[in-house]
């Protein structure tokens, strides 16, 4: 009886901080990055995030349900082939083969689309925003040259806490 009582006492708590699922935090960071950037496609309504080779199940849809970015509703599109890309504000790319990655970059060149990925080396290979984990925390890398080339504005608050990758090593 005492053991049960002890365990019940342990279950009582209040807290603001938590251990979070990495995938959920990546989705949330994507929304923050969206809020801290502006591109010509900002006029697009609803705000569109296209997910290529989705590996998060329904997480993007669930997280962005009833959420607005820059005062607009958010639409999530899932595609398996870059050829099916429609007009979008953000293209989130899951890990893919290098040949396809080059193809993606070629096909969205000058289309003013912000690219985000959790793929290793993404920023250095010509992507714009890379989200990666280090010791149980997520971090952001930004390829500023690429962002500038595509005429995308990134708020200084985001640049301050991100690592800046210089150049494009493609």
């Amino acid at each position: 009886m005492k053991i049960i009582y002890f365990f019940l006492l342990l279950l009582i708590h209040t807290s603001l901080f938590a251990y979070e699922n990495e995938d959920r935090v990546i989705c949330a960071l994507t929304s923050k990055v969206a809020k801290f950037t502006k591109n010509n496609n900002s006029k697009l309504n609803p705000y569109t995030i296209t997910v290529l080779h989705n590996k998060f199940g329904t997480l993007f849809t669930d997280i962005f349900k009833n959420v607005t970015i820059n005062g607009k509703d958010v639409k999530i599109l899932y595609i398996e082939d870059i050829k099916n890309l429609q007009k979008t504000n953000i293209l989130f790319v899951f890990t893919t083969h290098i040949n396809e990655l080059n193809q993606i970059f070629s096909s969205i060149k000058d289309k003013n689309i912000l690219t985000i990925s959790n793929m290793r080396g993404f920023a250095q290979r010509g992507g714009m925003v890379q989200i990666y984990s280090q010791n149980q925390k997520l971090k952001i890398k930004i390829n500023l040259k690429k962002v500038n080339e595509e005429d995308i504005y990134i708020h200084s608050a985001l640049l301050r806490i991100a690592s800046i990758v210089q150049g494009d090593k493609r």
Binding site: Y5, T14, S15, A28, R125, I161
Partner: protein, 754 residues
């Protein structure tokens, strides 16, 4: 009684309301808070699919994170696992020949050779040493310095169908650091008794390479002084402490290089070198005065030194085909040798012409593993499979002739030419692992592995694991599998014999290979693999993101466990032909059932002042039962069933406020039993307390003060009287209890990140 019921009712209400509370939406958090959010630790172990949150694994997995490693204050891997894993026990033997120089360990009541060790997911080689008490040879975990480690994943489940031989009690996967902060650290400490000084310096540098590649260098240098808790030696006229009974003197140097180079085409070329050199010296028993000796007539204490060389080199490449299949090819070469030497000794049979220092021989093991692994995701199915080839060699080189001449060097007779061996074997494995996510809440994992060994033939094993999310907060899981442990090449090849005067004549005694004619004459046969059957059933309850409760029960049946036979006097014709009087050999001898339960509760509290408390309460119960008692002696049965505690409780707490981090751990070990001769001693339950107080002077510089077993808990002494192992003897404490017998240890350490 009604008072308790009322309290239970109130608690239940509070718990229910807590569970009903909505999580704070992540999207409402600031960018800074999101980047400061601690994400669930992922584990690669337990399935060949992608790494997943360890709490969502289909088998019980624990992860020791970098932060936990750095906040523990421990300086070697076995201590770290003991610090964080309930049911993981370590043994530091003394006056036990080679076993003085390596830390033995067990998990859930099962021995070290039933635990598979991986580094970055690749099999790590065992030590060349053979424990003549437990009969096993196992991985020297402490050959891998903590400074090089990012995290440790511990799978508490059988997994031979996934990883091959040895994965019976579980699997320890050590993940080396990748892109981590550069750092320097120094620590020094001392035992309460004033001995056992320990000084260690560590350095780690990470050089970033293109496309998030890296080249890491980790270095560790350590010096440990001996402890001595020996009792009075009553063999001499005026009883005095003559022998060292405690931890050995040791010097240790380790280097780890770890790199990943990413090509333009995104192929990752990875490599790591783990190098460890250790010199460790321990006492044997004091030799009492004898005027007939030309050397040391007033007595002497032979000191046995083990020079251990250990290294592992991994080379590999991994990538992804355009259609999506990922591939990984690697080769791991591992080597370990133990070179024994004696000083301050003599050979009685050489008397005046005896040297006082001896080369006593060398044991060495080599293991080379080549692996190809492929993985493909087809809709809801993750299909992986591979091929593995392993080559092993075991050698014994004899010592110098003076070390084995006649009765040999005192303290540790050298390995004789007849012990010399050059054994090798090969094995091939083919495996397949299929994870099927039937629905988002239900998944199954089926693993099959076929393996063929050149010495004993083939074996096929399976594992089935199922996981079901009954609710988003409650996960149920179950596994069943078969497994095996191949007889280690050292068990098949090892022999260690010496000569003794028996009945007025010199005869041989010791450990002989199972294939030796004298062993065969006594009933030995070729070793066959230990076969195991596993069942586990468990649940993970995450009422919210601050807490989790894991409950996992297990049942493991091991058939044909290989142990060293008891010493037998032999008078067979073949024994006489070889001049053997006493014989021991490795044998498939015991059928053992291990069962128990783990209950682990994690809780994270945050207080008004933004301070945080991480607590873990972990209870482990492990029971071993011999299923064929008729085949074993009462002493051996007791050793198998009662030598280790059955209950372990850990209450781990880390409190963090501003620049200060305080860790306080309470460890409870249940009673255990050992015997001297026929007299058993039950050793009382033991409670130890560990403390670590860390102050971050700046963001990069921190100082820690702390101690292990700070209240100096000691095991009770043997109940029997004896000149050697007894409450009034040279060894008053059990040689291998879970808390050792060196007492409290206090330390100070400093860490600088750059």
């Amino acid at each position: 009684m009604s008072h308790i019921k009322n309290r239970l009712f109130i608690c239940s209400l509070l718990v229910t309301s807590s569970l009903m509370a909505e999580d704070v939406s992540l999207l409402d958090e600031s960018l800074e808070n999101l980047l400061n959010t601690e994400i669930q630790t992922k584990a690669q172990i337990g399935t060949r699919s992608n790494a997943k949150d360890y709490l969502e694994s289909n088998a019980p997995v624990d992860v020791i994170t970098l932060r936990q490693i750095q906040s523990s204050g421990v300086t070697q891997l076995t201590d770290l696992l003991k610090y964080y894993i309930a049911g993981f026990s370590t043994e530091r033997s003394s006056i036990s020949d080679g076993m003085d120089h390596i830390v033995n360990y067990s998990l859930r009541g099962m021995k070290a050779d039933q635990i598979l060790v991986l580094v970055n997911g690749k099999r790590y080689h065992p030590s060349a040493l053979v424990s003549t008490s437990s009969g096993s040879s196992f991985v020297d975990l402490n050959s891998i310095p903590l400074i090089a480690i990012n995290r440790i994943e511990v799978l508490r489940d059988g997994a031979a169908a996934q990883y091959g031989s040895d994965a019976i009690a579980g699997v320890i996967n050590i993940i080396l650091k990748s892109n981590d902060a550069n750092m320097l650290s120094v620590s020094t400490g001392i035992r309460k008794e004033g001995d056992g000084q320990n000084t260690q310096a560590n350095g780690f540098v990470s050089i970033p390479l293109e496309y998030d590649g890296f080249f890491n260098i980790a270095l560790m240098a350590k010096k440990e002084n001996a402890t001595n808790r020996a009792g009075l030696d009553r063999r001499i006229a005026t009883p005095a402490v003559t022998t060292h009974f405690g931890l050995p003197d040791a010097k240790n140097l380790a280097l780890v290089l770890n790199s990943e180079m990413v090509s333009q085409e995104n192929t990752i070329f990875y490599s790591n070198l783990i190098f460890n050199y250790k010199e460790s010296e321990a006492s044997t028993f004091y030799r009492t005065p004898d005027s007939s000796r030309a050397i040391y007539p007033n007595g002497f204490l032979p000191m046995l030194k083990d020079t251990i060389l250990d290294y592992s080199l991994t080379l590999g490449a991994k990538g992804r085909f355009e259609e999506g299949t990922t591939w990984d090819i690697s080769n791991v070469y591992g080597y370990n040798s133990s070179d024994f030497s004696l000083r301050d000794s003599m050979n009685y049979d050489l008397n005046a012409s005896s040297p006082t220092s001896f080369d006593n021989g060398t044991l060495a093991i080599l293991q080379n593993t080549t692996n190809l692994n492929l993985k493909k995701v087809i809709n809801a199915i993750v299909l992986s499979g591979g091929l593995e080839y392993r080559h092993e060699e075991y050698t014994i080189d004899s010592g110098d002739s003076a070390s084995y001449y006649g009765t040999g060097s005192q303290g540790f007779p050298g390995y004789e030419p007849s012990n010399e061996v050059r054994a090798s074997r090969d094995s091939y494995a083919l495996y397949l692992d299929t994870l099927y996510n039937v629905t988002t809440d239900f998944s199954t994992d089926l693993a099959l592995r076929y393996e063929n060994f050149s010495d004993f033939g083939d074996t096929a094993n399976y594992k089935i694991a199922v996981k079901y999310n009954l609710t988003p907060k409650l996960l149920l899981r179950a596994t069943t599998s078969t497994g095996f442990r191949a007889p280690s090449i050292s068990q098949s090849s090892y022999s260690y014999t010496s000569s003794a005067v028996s009945g007025g004549t010199l005869s041989k005694k010791g450990i002989f290979q199972p294939s030796h004619p004298a062993s065969k004459a006594m009933g030995a046969s070729d070793l066959k693999p230990e076969k195991s059957t596993h069942y586990s059933l468990g649940m993970v309850f995450q009422p919210n993101k601050q807490s989790s409760l894991m409950v996992d029960s297990f049942l493991v049946k091991v058939k044909d466990r290989i142990l060293l036979s008891e010493k037998q006097n032999t008078t067979t014709a073949i024994s006489s032909q070889y001049g053997i009087s006493t014989i021991q050999y490795f044998k498939n001898i015991a059928d053992i059932e291990n069962y128990g339960i783990d209950i682990k509760y994690n809780q994270k509290y945050t207080f008004q002042n933004q301070s945080q408390l991480d607590s873990t309460l972990w209870f482990n119960y492990s029971q071993s039962k011999v299923l064929n008692p008729e085949a074993l002696s009462a002493t051996l049965i007791q050793d198998l069933e009662d030598r280790l505690p059955k209950e372990y409780i850990k209450l781990l707490n880390v409190y963090h406020v501003s620049d200060v981090t305080i860790g306080v751990n309470f460890n409870y070990y249940g009673s255990y039993k050992m015997s001297v001769g026929d007299i058993p001693t039950t050793f009382n339950p033991e409670l130890t307390t560990d403390l670590d107080m860390k102050y971050a002077y700046t963001k990069d510089l921190s100082v820690s003060l702390g101690g292990f077993n700070i209240f100096d808990a000691m095991p009770n002494k043997w109940v029997n009287s004896s000149l050697y192992r007894g409450y009034d003897g040279i060894m008053p404490y059990p040689n291998s209890g879970p808390i050792g017998f060196s007492g409290a240890y206090y330390y100070i350490s400093m860490e600088y990140k750059f």
